[in-house]
Point group: C2
Chain length 360, copies 2
């Protein structure tokens, strides 16, 4: 209220206004605010004073138009309502801001038209680079972004071209830990509930599961390798289907945490108990995993690591940063309360729905 003393007619403050007030040219103003070192300290001081007094800030559009850089990173994810992605977005944004970039968000919702629109928006707004964590977008990106010469990083496992890189994740480590943990508890019949297998990261988790089972000397039964959708509903539906079959596993490993929560719900509805009747392992370790009832044992993949690697790679491709070591993002098991020893006769639970005391 008392602040806008002389900047009352301030709706139109541009670089010219600042130049006039500081009694320098607009070029000097530009150089000053862009921290070009060759400007005389005395003039710079006058410029900053004028900037402050007039409450000036540069017009991003004009700046982008002439410099060719928008200082914008695109981030394309599958679905913003899956809690893992907001956590990733938050990290991604925080790190981007540290490097002077902002983010333009796009979610595909697993829909071809929306995906197409996403890519188009990114091109129209002239993003300087784009990070992708979804599927079904590869050919679009390669056709269009390469033409536009836009660096692309896939999280994870995308095509590798001169314009695109991949952040790899060490799925094997965490999933092997999970299988070993279950095996140590006495489980032998373990099912895997994957995400949509068209999605590279879902396929990779599925493969890691199969390998870990083999290493542990356990057999994977095909009917216990289910394809889900990485959603709450998908987890619930898949579990309900499995409950209709004759033979049940004693443990279920899920490709992400929301799928596991969906499974928990299906079991609750069927009056089955976790971990007494079924042990359950998730993947991602979203913040919510700590708050499910009971708290979810899960494989942690730090969204911060992902975001860090993605932006580092992007900056490197833009020539702004040195090549960072391309070590895969690590994963590891977090044991909470959805895993326990299997019942000696698992199918007994089916009819009774009895409770056993909550472990602690």
């Amino acid at each position: 209220m008392s602040r806008s003393t002389k900047s009352a007619a301030s709706s139109k403050i541009d670089i010219r206004g600042v130049a006039a007030r500081a009694r320098v040219s607009i070029a000097t103003v530009s150089r000053t605010i862009n921290h070009v070192p060759t400007v005389d300290p005395a003039l710079a001081k006058r410029v900053w004073k004028a900037v402050k007094e007039l409450n000036y800030f540069p017009n991003t559009q004009a700046r982008a138009l002439v410099s060719g850089r928008s200082r914008l990173f695109g981030l394309i994810v599958s679905e913003i309502t899956n809690p893992f992605f907001p956590e990733l977005i938050q990290q991604f944004e925080a790190i981007a801001v540290q490097h002077g970039y902002e983010i333009l968000l796009g979610s595909t919702s697993y829909d071809a038209a929306k995906t197409e629109q996403c890519v188009r928006r990114m091109l129209e707004r002239k993003v300087d680079g784009v990070a992708v964590m979804t599927f079904g977008i590869e050919e679009l990106l390669l056709n269009r972004f390469e033409e536009g010469d836009i660096p692309t990083v896939f999280i994870d496992l995308g095509p590798s071209t001169p314009h695109s890189r991949t952040i790899s994740v060490d799925y094997q480590q965490g999933i092997t830990e999970a299988i070993q943990h279950l095996a140590a508890l006495g489980h032998r019949d373990i099912a895997f509930l994957s995400g949509p297998l068209r999605m590279h990261s879902a396929q990779a988790r599925s493969d890691a599961f199969a390998r870990a089972m083999q290493q542990a000397g356990l057999v994977t039964r095909p009917e216990w390798m289910l394809e889900g959708t990485h959603t709450l509903d998908g987890g619930r539906d898949a579990m309900q289907r499995m409950l209709k079959t004759r033979r049940w596993p004693t443990a279920i490993v899920c490709s992400n945490d929301v799928t596991a929560i969906g499974v928990q719900h299906a079991l609750f509805d069927a009056r089955l108990r976790v971990p007494e009747d079924f042990s359950l392992v998730g993947f991602d370790d979203i913040h919510l995993a700590e708050y499910t009832i009971p708290p979810l044992t899960t494989v942690r993949m730090a969204s911060e690591d992902l975001a860090h690697a993605a932006i580092g790679t992007l900056l490197e491709m833009l020539g702004t940063a040195e090549a960072a070591a391309g070590t895969p993002v690590p994963t590891h098991l977090i044991v909470r309360q959805t895993t326990g020893s299997p019942r000696t006769n698992a199918t007994a639970a089916r009819a009774t729905g009895r409770k056993s005391p909550v472990k602690h």
Copy 2:
């Protein structure tokens, strides 16, 4: 791959290129793609043909620079990791896109510096309007956005000025339903766990609770009016504090769903059961509410309605749409499984931690 036949050197297609190929002036190209009706159909056809062939799309920045409209709406929320907001964001974006706008997202994380930065970003990118659902931002917005002449809509209960409007929500309806539901089940001792009271919407929910209690002839005890943070951790912590006090309520109404999930977790940790030992009501009806164990009784406030009203108001302020009826966004109770009759002696549960059969 086969598509880019002659657009190989296509990285630099601008309006001039299209004009040359269609043998018209750039003004005609501009008019055509902006659907100005005074262009000759024959020429328009040639232009569209050239656009297709060259895979042309306009440069958003140049367009915004000269036209003064960025076709961008800002959306400022508290915290993207609270699942309610992604749902809102998704709806908001979908509706914005329908009207030819995109959204620029900002989250304040309840932090003054981040809030300041948010506002600045919105101004720099020259958003055409901004919708706000957080707190502590009002004076910033009024000082800065009014200068920039940017329409602002608060969801809900913000200051009312020539430049800003408010989307109101009928909190009373849903919360009254909740209290009546609990009273009918036999509850008299009902606590309220609010969000941060600096936030208007949190304060409004708290007020609605007090009024509903009074209408139902129940007394609200001050020590049962707790202030939370609208987060998982906040809900858990508040409940843990309450469990240390001497006298417990039999039911708890929470100001949002994640708070309720936090409460559920605290009760689980303390070996107390929902709804046997405590009935629990949330607010928002996020998708996840259906998946908690047991599924959460909650007051539904449709994020779609909020988004719809916010964008409608924004368009109206921009003169693009007619004044829509300003009816408050409705709320209503969704009964699931976290509410039931209170035990005759609630404190009995404290020591035993016994189970009773799950209701259905």
